[in-house]
């Protein structure tokens, strides 16, 4: 067992599960989407991205690309939240909530691809 692979797989899967947890629920209802969950998703995704740095293989490049996409979506969601809550003071209206959740949904898709790639790599390694 390679401890590095365990940590790597752990963070990639955790990024997906947290992302899913934030995403599920009524898309316009802020009560279904806890802010701290978004925070955790951002942090775990950041860690997953950095873990993918410095892998020269084709698979490594693809993994890094999906992570960068996820980060882009999540940071956009975080900025939308900060703008709505602090800059404009509008609070989490249904429109704002919907856009935050849909952005995180896009990030989730990227995370799903990440996990699929990880599985493919593992299967190929077994063979």
């Amino acid at each position: 067992m390679n401890p590095e692979k365990v940590v790597f797989g752990f963070f990639i899967v955790l990024a997906l599960t947290l992302n899913f947890g934030f995403f599920v629920g009524d898309i316009e209802n802020p009560d279904h989407h806890h802010l701290y969950e978004l925070y955790a998703v951002v942090v775990v995704n950041l860690i997953a991205t950095v873990l993918k740095f410095g892998d020269r293989s084709q698979m490594g490049a693809l993994l890094l690309a999906t992570s960068l996409v996820a980060m882009l979506q999540l940071l956009a969601a975080a900025i939308v939240w900060a703008l709505a809550e602090h800059v404009y003071g509008a609070g989490l209206t249904p429109v704002v909530t919907a856009s935050i959740v849909s952005l995180s949904g896009g990030a989730m898709l990227a995370n799903v691809i990440s996990v699929i790639l990880l599985i493919i790599e593992t299967v190929m390694l077994r063979r």
């Binding site: 701290y36 925070y39 950041l46 740095f53 900060a82 809550e85 602090h86």
Partner: protein, 575 residues
């Protein structure tokens, strides 16, 4: 082709920064989370939780120790405790990150990757023809010096870092890019411009025969049109190199053997050759006449001794060989004395008293000097040939006053310099071999008349648009121009410049010492020797249309519009 170098650097940075970045993210995440969870009190004393956005803002300036104060409300003690903890944690994380970056910048691999990348970029930007020299030892140093002195561009690869570092400290006339690396590695040769379109030739001079072989074969495969010159110290390596078309293989011992043979058969030609191939600024050498009236003694029967013995045998001269280790070098066919030659007894066994010549050719300079001094005591009239192995011993070898000195590095450097800069000189020498020696003697006295006591300058000229723009334009337009016109002084056309046209080559036909009436045409290649001043003046003639006009006709035409106009009016009035 050099992208991989840059990618390596980026890859190296990213990989090393992974750990510090993870630490930073973790510290930030925990600090922000903690700040947003710990309750504080606002100005009115109500319980207040810092929002994640504010916590991120606060941690961002706290971690970089900028510190704007407790915003937006004064902190509670619990918050302060948490901030103190995370402050130290984040500062340590930043120090760790910066430390890693600084260590990376100083890292050897990183520095090497940067240097290699810089070097490759510089080579890509080269626009003028350059020669690639592999190996910057004694020979390489001498070659680079003499090539840059003649205004040629050079790129150097050497495996030893000390040698490549020392290049920039040497007083060379041109900047010489140097790569520290194994020239046997294809990637290094590529980076140094093996496939560059301005690369004019590659010279393999490393002290490793295998490496030279590898360089030659790589060059011939990757750039078949390139001129490849190799140093070879053994017969089988030489044959191997020749088998795949290496253009020139330089064996210092055979080369010196050739010199000796020429000195025997045509002393004046030998003198002429040594003047024409001499290093600029050195004095004209004296003629040597190797004697035939007696036997020769050759000390040391290595590669050098064997080459000399072959030439002496061809001259039908009796040879005594003195060798200390005949079991290693092989037993010579001629008369043989076992010993080192440094003691009088061995020399007397080889009948030193009646000998005409002595070759001190061992691979040890001290022994060679000792042989020469002992032998001179026994027979003061000896003709002495001494082999110099180390460059540092130059002074003492010169002091012993031998008739001929054989210094392998100098011989190789000299030969390669001529091959690269003035290859026509070799053609000239081989044509001159067919002439009687009196022809060479006459030419030698003419050459010594051109230059007082220093070696003459020598240069090749092709009549084309780049090297001789004015002459090329004149000849393309159907104008006539003879060798005599070329040698007219552009300051005073009835004066003759101190220069001699040695060889003219037209459509593959060489003309040795063309007379002054010989007409020149487009595409002709000229080999000219003379004083430095003569070359400056000839450059004027062939590059400026008006100078050319004056040299040809004696009429100094006005150049500017106004003077042409005045002159035209004058001529009209005369009519």
């Amino acid at each position: 082709m050099n992208r991989s170098g840059l990618e390596n650097i980026a890859f190296l940075i990213v990989r090393r920064m992974r750990q510090p970045l993870l630490t930073l993210i973790a510290v930030y995440a925990v600090s922000i989370l903690g700040l947003s969870l710990i309750p504080g009190r606002d100005a009115d004393g109500n319980v207040w939780h810092m929002s994640l956005f504010h916590a991120f803002y606060f941690v961002s300036y706290m971690a970089t120790t900028i510190g704007f104060g407790e915003i937006p409300y004064a902190f509670s003690d619990a918050q302060r405790m948490w901030v103190s903890l995370s402050l130290y944690a984040s500062v340590i994380a930043w120090i760790y990150a910066f430390g890693t970056i600084l260590a990376l910048v100083q890292d050897r691999t990183f520095q090497d990757a940067l240097a290699e990348n810089r070097f490759a970029r510089r080579i890509r930007k080269m626009r003028e023809p350059f020669h690639l020299i592999c190996g910057y030892g004694e020979t390489g140093t001498a070659l680079v010096k003499s090539l840059t002195d003649r205004g040629q561009h050079v790129v150097v690869i050497d495996i030893d870092e000390e040698r490549t570092n020392v290049i920039q400290l040497q007083d060379l006339r041109d900047f010489v890019p140097a790569l520290n690396g194994d020239a046997g590695v294809t990637q290094h040769l590529r980076e140094a411009g093996l496939q560059h379109r301005s690369c004019a030739g590659i010279v393999a001079l490393t002290n490793d025969n295998e490496a030279n072989l590898k360089i030659a074969i790589t060059s011939k495969l990757l750039n078949p049109g390139l001129k490849v010159i190799c140093r070879a110290d053994s017969q089988d390596v030489e044959e191997n190199m020749a088998s795949f078309g290496t253009d020139h293989i330089v064996d210092p011992f055979e080369t010196f053997g050739n010199h000796l043979a020429v000195a025997f058969q045509a002393p004046c030609l030998y003198l002429l050759q040594s003047w024409l191939t001499g290093v600029i600024g050195s004095a004209l050498s004296e003629p040597v006449y190797p004697p035939r009236d007696g036997h020769w003694i050759v000390c040391g029967y290595g590669r050098f001794g064997k080459a000399v013995c072959r030439r002496l045998a061809a001259e039908k001269i009796r040879v005594y060989v003195i060798e200390a280790h005949p079991e290693q070098t092989g037993q010579p066919e001629s008369d043989f004395v076992h010993g080192r030659g440094t003691e009088a007894v061995t020399l007397q066994e080889a009948a030193i008293e009646g000998a005409a010549g002595l070759v001190a050719g061992t691979d040890n300079d001290a022994n060679n000097l000792s042989i020469v001094m002992t032998a001179r005591e026994l027979n003061p009239d000896l003709f002495v040939v001494i082999r110099q192995n180390e460059h540092d011993n130059e002074d003492i070898i010169t002091a012993v006053g031998a008739d001929m000195i054989m210094h392998p590095s100098a011989i190789i450097a000299n030969k390669i310099r001529v091959l690269l800069a003035t290859p026509m000189l070799y053609e000239f020498a081989s044509l001159a071999l067919y002439e009687a020696d009196s022809w060479s003697c006459e030419l030698a006295s003419r050459v010594s008349g051109l230059v007082r006591d220093q070696v003459p300058h020598i240069r090749e000229w092709t009549i084309d648009a780049q090297q001789t723009p004015a002459l090329h334009a004149h000849c393309s337009a159907g104008g006539e121009f003879s060798v005599g016109d070329l040698l007219r002084d552009p300051w005073q056309r009835y004066e003759r410049l101190p220069a001699i046209v040695l060889l003219v080559r037209r459509d593959g036909d060489p003309v040795l010492l063309p007379d002054l009436e010989t007409e020149l045409g487009v595409g002709d290649r000229l080999l000219i020797c003379g004083s430095g001043v003569a070359f400056t003046r000839i450059t004027w003639t062939v590059s400026h249309a008006h100078t050319l006009e004056y040299v040809r006709t004696g009429v100094d035409r006005p150049q500017a519009w106004f003077w042409r106009y005045l002159k035209g009016r004058q001529e009209d009035q005369k009519k």
